[in-house]
């Protein structure tokens, strides 16, 4: 620029960058001021660069949550994931396991240990009672329990080699001593994807709140959270036989790519193209058997999307979505506005942050949300 001292120009940039990076001394700041005073044409640049600097980058945070999951799965033996079941005896004592993680996990949190065990024992007792109705579970054996916390998923291998992928907020119980004797029985609350080794001599039975599922050797997904309205079992390969706890006489066999949905509480209206099994009385839950379809837009089968680290809502209420988000991200999500709870949404997400997911959902039907630390409020 004509009439300007070149070195004073260079000095301007050096000082400005120091100011923006907060590295400038008091004298340097003053020097910058005087340069600006003498060169008003530089104001525009200074302002624009300051604005750019201060606005900061768009911290997308894209993919970091999914990357963290991959990281812990990669190093799961060193990080804490509850892969080995905790052996708890009926009298409340904890068996010595060789799971070193147990010691590391519990060593500093004594009070947590006792409340944790207390919880399992309660659940164990409930399951034993349920199973004792007609089942042959011997009373004095160790009950093994695998629990995931919200925000985490885990995979375990059962004594017969069957693999189970547990989704967040789920637990799977089984009797370690009797597991592979005559029957292979487990109890599930939550969601799990099973790959059961084939053994026609030893039926594999999964007990959930509303259904018992008997399999011979197959791949399928079961979803039965106690705080959700619908329980489902979806079959991918092989065949499974579902016995409804409320209707013991009726056994339903699923073929590959079929799924069964059972209302946990009140019956809910289902679309007419599916087979509806009519209820005998108004108290028996409504059951629907549907065909599994990959969603053409997203190219995944909704029910197993979570095993591929995809979060998929086909047509769910915001209330249900909030629960799913809680489990997926491990954060608390509450809906302050009652009228929002029943609005339906659909979506497909992979590595987005919870903020991205909510921003995207509200584009279709609007709502507001507020994030504070690990709590989200939708209003």
């Amino acid at each position: 620029m004509p009439g300007q001292n070149n070195s004073s120009q260079d000095q301007f940039w050096t000082l400005l960058s120091k100011k923006l990076s907060k590295e400038a001394s008091a004298e340097e700041l003053q020097e910058l001021q005087s340069i600006l005073l003498n060169n008003p044409d530089l104001h525009h640049h200074a302002n624009m660069l300051t604005e750019m600097w201060q606005q900061g980058s768009i911290n997308k945070g894209i993919g970091s949550e999914a990357a963290y999951m991959r990281h812990i799965m990669k190093h799961k033996d060193e990080l804490f994931l509850e892969e080995d079941p905790i052996k708890i005896n009926i009298d409340g004592s904890v068996s010595e396991t060789d799971a070193g993680f147990l010691r590391a996990f519990f060593s500093r949190k004594k009070s947590l240990v006792y409340s944790f065990i207390g919880l399992i024992i309660t659940t164990g007792v409930i399951y034993l009672f349920t199973q004792n109705r007609g089942a042959k579970l011997p009373p004095q054996q160790a009950l093994s329990s695998v629990v995931t916390k919200n925000g985490n998923r885990t995979k375990i291998v059962l004594p017969d080699g069957s693999q189970v992928w547990l989704n967040a907020g789920s637990n799977l119980d089984y009797n370690n001593s009797t597991f592979n004797k005559d029957l292979r029985e487990v109890s599930l609350n939550g969601e799990a994807y099973f790959d059961v080794t084939k053994n026609p001599d030893k039926p594999f039975i999964i007990h959930t709140k509303k259904m018992d599922i008997k399999v011979l050797g197959t791949v399928f997904n079961v979803r039965s959270y106690s705080n959700e309205k619908i329980a489902e079992a979806a079959l991918i390969k092989g065949s499974i036989e579902v016995t409804l706890k409320d209707r013991k006489d009726q056994k339903i066999v699923l073929k590959p790519n079929e799924k069964i949905s059972i209302a946990n509480e009140e019956p809910r209206a289902e679309p007419k193209q599916n087979k509806i099994i009519p209820a005998n009385t108004s108290h028996i839950p409504q059951i629907v058997v549907k065909e599994l379809k990959p969603n053409p837009t997203y190219n995944i089968i909704g029910e197993i999307a979570w095993t591929q680290n995809k979060l998929y809502f086909e047509d769910e209420t915001l209330e249900d979505i909030a629960l799913r988000l809680e489990r997926w991200f491990g954060k608390k999500v509450t809906i302050a506005n009652e009228s929002l709870k029943n609005v339906h949404y659909r979506g497909n997400y992979e590595s987005e942050t919870i903020e991205d997911v909510l921003s995207s959902l509200k584009l279709s039907k609007s709502f507001n949300f507020r994030i504070a630390n690990d709590t989200i409020v939708i209003y």
């Binding site: 923006l20 606005q55 980058s57 768009i58 993919g63």
Partner: protein, 186 residues
């Protein structure tokens, strides 16, 4: 940007086996470290592996967290060292040269409207930043986006502080030249 005392308390919690704090640290730095590493490796898979190594080391050495003075710098230096080791093993030492780094900065203006920046100016800014010479762009990104201090950047890249000063100064000058050009055309 992360506050130093926040990082100190995170570090202490991690030393006490707090996995939630560990996860927070991961989420806080994953993208920035990945971008930094990617500039050298130019490979998504290798980058993810390296960043995972950085963090598993943190967990393995968590009991010694108090010995780390500056967790943020430690993460970056660790990332660089692990990256250079991998590249050496792959016989791609040429990629460790700062002049071959290709770092991808974020969009310059998160909210162009607020600064009365036109779309055209924003695009010019973005391409001006992209056109910065590699070493210059790297230093600009580390200071502006990642919030490293001059000293941290100098230590990390093994250059002098005056190099960092100069490069940053050049960056701002080149960037504003792009705007000046646009301005004239109005």
């Amino acid at each position: 940007m992360e506050r130093t005392d926040d990082l100190i308390s995170l570090g202490m919690r991690i030393a006490n086996d707090d996995q939630l704090a560990y996860r927070q640290l991961f989420i806080l730095f994953y993208n920035k470290l990945s971008r930094f590493v990617m500039g050298f490796t130019k490979s998504k898979e290798l980058t993810e592996e390296i960043v995972s190594d950085v963090f598993i080391n943190i967990w393995r050495r968590r009991k010694k967290m108090e010995e780390i003075n500056n967790l943020k710098l430690y993460l970056y230096v660790s990332a660089k060292n692990i990256t250079f080791n991998y590249l050496k093993k792959l016989h791609r030492e040429n990629l460790t040269d700062l002049d071959s780094v290709e770092i991808e900065p974020e969009d310059p203006f998160a909210d162009p409207g607020a600064a009365l920046i036109t779309r055209e100016m924003n695009l010019k800014l973005k391409s001006a930043i992209n056109d910065l010479p590699p070493r210059c762009k790297l230093i600009f990104t580390l200071i502006k986006e990642d919030g490293l201090t001059y000293k941290q950047a100098a230590t990390l890249l093994d250059v002098s502080i005056s190099t960092v000063e100069n490069q940053l100064s050049i960056a701002l000058k080149k960037i504003s030249r792009a705007i000046r050009y646009t301005f004239r055309h109005n």
